[in-house]
Symmetry: C2
Subunit: 214 residues, 2 copies
């Protein structure tokens, strides 16, 4: 979504058109807007309308830093899913997320707060990056296996797909979405980019199947 | 900026047009994009291009949760100012921002990290909400008086302008921007909304002058 927004008005039209194309070709596939929203409540109300009602997304990612009160416009939509950033997938994610609060790292505190408080409408999930498999394992002890988890960081960011699957199988995760963006979208910049993207997805699916069978 | 983005492609055009109008009518006034960006570095690179190069803003607000590494595309622009959210102005801001890390609340830890680490290019500022004057006073002890501070929360959010001025005068703040949005923009929804907005700005300016004289 960042790339589309950077393109301004044209990008917004492209994003809306992409979502419409997904709805036509794959109506059963949920659309997750990884927009990392995190404003005050009055602004989040507009962002929620944009994401859910205008663009028609099924889920959105949000920032935890302003607290649950600011996120209410997202949280009060029981028909939509709200993935809260807990442990992200970027190399420097630990700078704040690993700070220790009451004996546990901040990202675990965020995960617990989401599970115990913000999830009152049963529509919360967590973002737990694939680049931190150990952290991912620890956090699973704090939250229900039924809490949806979005796992970015496989592919261009270096996360290991098999390790992610193994960790979540041990934890009994029941609602896992592993997102892969750049290694598919930019599999090739040549004219056959569609074929290259398809080949990368097939490779990932085979790896996923092997991981699930193992 | 949230409101504009919620309006999609049309909103983006309106935002670009608003900034262009400000440049024409008041070329010396800095444009701060309160967009609260906070993605991974590769996406932030596009957001930085959008904010600084396409929209031509002078400054942007950003989220701290992903760490300084993710914010590099903003931080490496010495010609622009990057205001990092430390203590925000929303009612529930304390839920995460007040969590205690190494004996100090998280917002102070963020402020110190910005002042000591992220400000390597001398282009960082902090967002310190007007609704937390005591916290604002405490934080001022951790950072240089020269560090730019953006203070939202005066007006619709209930922050007291005189108290903000008094606090910052005691701390010797040298680069303070107090932002007032809704109480001016929505001073009236009637046909004379422009006159009502002007009257609200004049009222605020008088209060500001009284506070500075006091």
């Amino acid at each position: 979504v960042a790339f589309f927004e950077a393109l301004g008005a044209e990008g917004h039209r492209a994003l809306a058109g992409t979502i419409a194309a997904i709805r036509r070709r794959a109506p059963g596939v949920p659309v997750i807007l990884d927009a990392k929203r995190g404003d005050i409540a009055s602004s989040n109300r507009q962002y929620a309308i944009a994401a859910f009602d205008e663009l028609g997304a099924d889920a959105v990612t949000v920032q935890p830093y302003l607290g649950g009160e600011a996120l209410q416009p997202f949280l009060e939509r029981p028909d939509k899913l709200v993935y809260v950033l807990a442990r992200t997938s970027n190399p420097g994610c630990g700078e704040l997320q690993d700070l220790v609060v009451d004996g546990v790292p901040l990202y675990r505190r965020v995960a617990r707060t989401v599970a115990q408080t913000w999830n009152a409408n049963g529509n919360c999930g967590l973002v737990l990056g694939a680049t931190s498999p150990r952290e991912l394992e620890e956090i699973r002890g704090d939250i229900s296996p039924a809490l949806p988890v979005l796992v970015p960081g496989v592919g261009a960011q270096g996360g290991d797909l098999r390790e992610v699957i193994a960790t979540h199988r041990r934890a009994g995760s029941r609602a896992l979405v592993i997102s892969v963006s750049r290694s598919v979208l930019w599999a090739s910049s040549g004219p056959a980019f569609g074929d290259a993207a398809r080949a990368e997805v097939q490779r990932l699916n085979a790896e996923l199947a092997a991981g699930l069978g193992g």
